[in-house]
């Protein structure tokens, strides 16, 4: 049961039906990419899975290692093992990165358990070094005044420290230059392994040169219309998204 299973999910936001009988399975150990034109429901998928209250799940199932997470609170879903790397990470003034990550880790501990501070900082610094985030950032407020690249690297830092079972990366490459992209990709690749299932949502194929997926799914109008290997991404790059529209089932 080591997989993230999404079965016939229907999701609406502000009265608009966005995800239509959406189905997808991401096993641990694999990286799946979702590509598609804008407005097709990619971010909706990410937010709905994470339990955002604005996204109404009308029907369908989402099973994380066999456990249903539909209707659960975002923090419960997080503690069940789901991580979302946001497209637009929030700024939280007055809360330092170190304290934020520490609070998140403490939230996962049992009553009475405490975090080992020296071990925490050792790991934090190691991961910051590998993501080329200056150590001085530990005392900076989360995302406050950060550049796009810094925000995305901060997302990957949090992911590395929280060690989720499943990670959704929502357009992590948007707004990144080549150098930042490479750093982010290295960080993500370093986490790949049999205990992690990843869903990489992206508009452009470029990221997938660095984070090579096991499978590529193309989304259109709230559903997956085609699945293939990494070469599918190249095909999209070459042909554009219009080609995909013809594959979509006729709207009912």
């Amino acid at each position: 049961m080591s997989q993230l299973e999404i079965k016939n999910l229907n999701v609406s936001v502000a009265g608009n039906h966005i995800l239509k009988n959406f189905s997808l399975t991401v096993p641990k150990g694999e990286v799946h990419a979702i590509m598609g034109p804008n407005g097709t429901g990619k971010s909706t998928l990410a937010k709905a899975l994470a339990g955002h209250e604005d996204y109404e799940i009308a029907s369908g199932e989402v099973l994380l290692d066999g456990q249903s997470i539909v209707g659960e609170e975002p923090d419960a879903i997080s503690r069940a093992g789901l991580f979302l790397a946001f497209q637009y990470p929030s700024e939280i003034q007055g809360v330092s990165i170190a304290n934020f990550i520490r609070a998140a880790l403490n939230a996962r501990l049992d009553e009475g358990e405490k975090l080992n501070a020296p071990a925490f900082y050792k790991e934090l610094y190691e991961k910051m070094d590998s993501l080329k985030i200056p150590r001085t950032f530990t005392s900076r407020s989360v995302n406050d005044g950060f550049s796009g690249g810094e925000k995305k690297r901060c997302e990957i830092l949090q992911m590395a420290m929280l060690k989720p079972s499943y990670a959704i990366m929502d357009e992590t490459d948007s707004g990144l230059d080549i150098d930042a992209l490479q750093i982010v990709a290295e960080g993500v690749n370093a986490m790949r392994g049999p205990d992690l299932g990843m869903l990489v949502i992206t508009h452009y194929q470029r990221l997938l040169n660095y984070i090579v997926p096991d499978k590529v799914h193309v989304m259109y109008d709230g559903q997956i219309v085609k699945t293939g290997g990494p070469e599918l991404a190249h095909e999209l790059e070459a042909k554009g998204y219009d080609w995909v529209k013809e594959l979509a089932p006729v709207a009912t």
Binding site: G51, H52, G94, F100, L162
Partner: protein, 468 residues
Amino acid sequence: MATTPDLNIDRDSGNFRYDTTYEFDAGVGLNEQTIDYICDVKGEDDWVRDFRKRALEVFWKKPNPTHWASKQLDEIDFDKIRYYLSKGQRPTRSWDEVPPEVKETFERLGIPEKERAYLAGVEAQFDSEASYSNMKEELSKQGVIFVGSTEGLKEHPEIFRKWFGKVIPIGDNKYSALNSAVFSGGSFIYVPPGVKLKQPLQAYFRINAENFGQFERTLIIADEGAELTYMEGCTAPKFETNTLHSAVVELVALKGAKIQYITVQNWSSNVFNLVTKRGLAMEDAEVKWIDCNIGSKLTMKYPGVVMRGEGARGEVVSIALAHDGQHQDTGAKMVHAANNTASNIVSKSISIGQGRSTYRGVVSMPKHLKNCKNNTECDALLINTNSRTDTYPAITVRGQNNTTQHEASVSKVSAEQIFYMMQRGLSEGEAMSLAVNGFVNDLIREFPMEYSVELKRLIDLEMEGSVG
């Protein structure tokens, strides 16, 4: 409060004379007889009696300032208030009658057992007899005077009479007049030239039951080059049947002196807390007010500094938290009265539920002055859609090379921020607390450590109540 009670000092016990043959009880309501009663009981000199009576006249003449202040002031029924409480008159209740939320707060803030009974109104007084004598000795060695208002005026008029009622005159406002008529308790402090006190002086616990903080009168004089920090109040909620608290605090910092005055106010939600606080800063002197208002039904408090000497500095750091049914009406008054003076105001308020926060700031730099600077930052955080915040800055800058800077912001803890934090595994309550603590973080660090730890816990507690 766990670590500081040992520094407490009782000032009136032993000096206080209560004539038991006196049958007249001050009772409720306010008239000349109430004043006479208070003066007789305290054995005050004639000039103090006259001062009080003059103040009473002014108090009756002035109307409630409801043309700009909250109309809630009209709810105060002056005839029903007890203006002077003596030992044994303080109402007490049994531990069973103490509301469970209060008990829980004590638990969560880590208030020591022996303090809880006093705070909860179960015991009439808190006995800190054993702890104060060391401090008293230390201070007297340095020539420091630390007594109550009665003793201050009686035993040391040559020091205190000079400034008493000069920083805040009787007629300043209706409530300074009231205080001037019926004041009791409070701290009168004098620090000799060059003496820099390392330990903060504490007002909190008192043996004498007359000091319920109702109409406290405090006067602190720091002579040339002297330095002190004074702390009053506590984070724990206090049982109060008295609905009107009207204190007056006068500070005088002579040349090169520094006074830092820290207040944490958490009166119960039936209290009107109307306070007049002002400091005079002479040449190169500094007066700094660090203020935290969490309790009461309505607090009106605008700590001020009059910078009278060149190079003087005034500062106000203020945190206010307004929950359902509360109105924190706070701010600052900076009056520049000499060249090269600087003032700084940082005010952060949080409005939760139906709570209301108001900021009123006065900054005045008249045209004959030069090279004066003011910096004001007032930030408001609204937690729920019903919360309310208002800002009324009144800034007058004239003259040459005078600058002022005013920044104000209103923000909400956004749903997106909360979702982001929850996605990392924090519950909604934990996320809110983190955001709110982040908002006031840099100001909380201005408070001494014992307070800042308790303040953070208190804010967490208040936030819990606001979520879900």
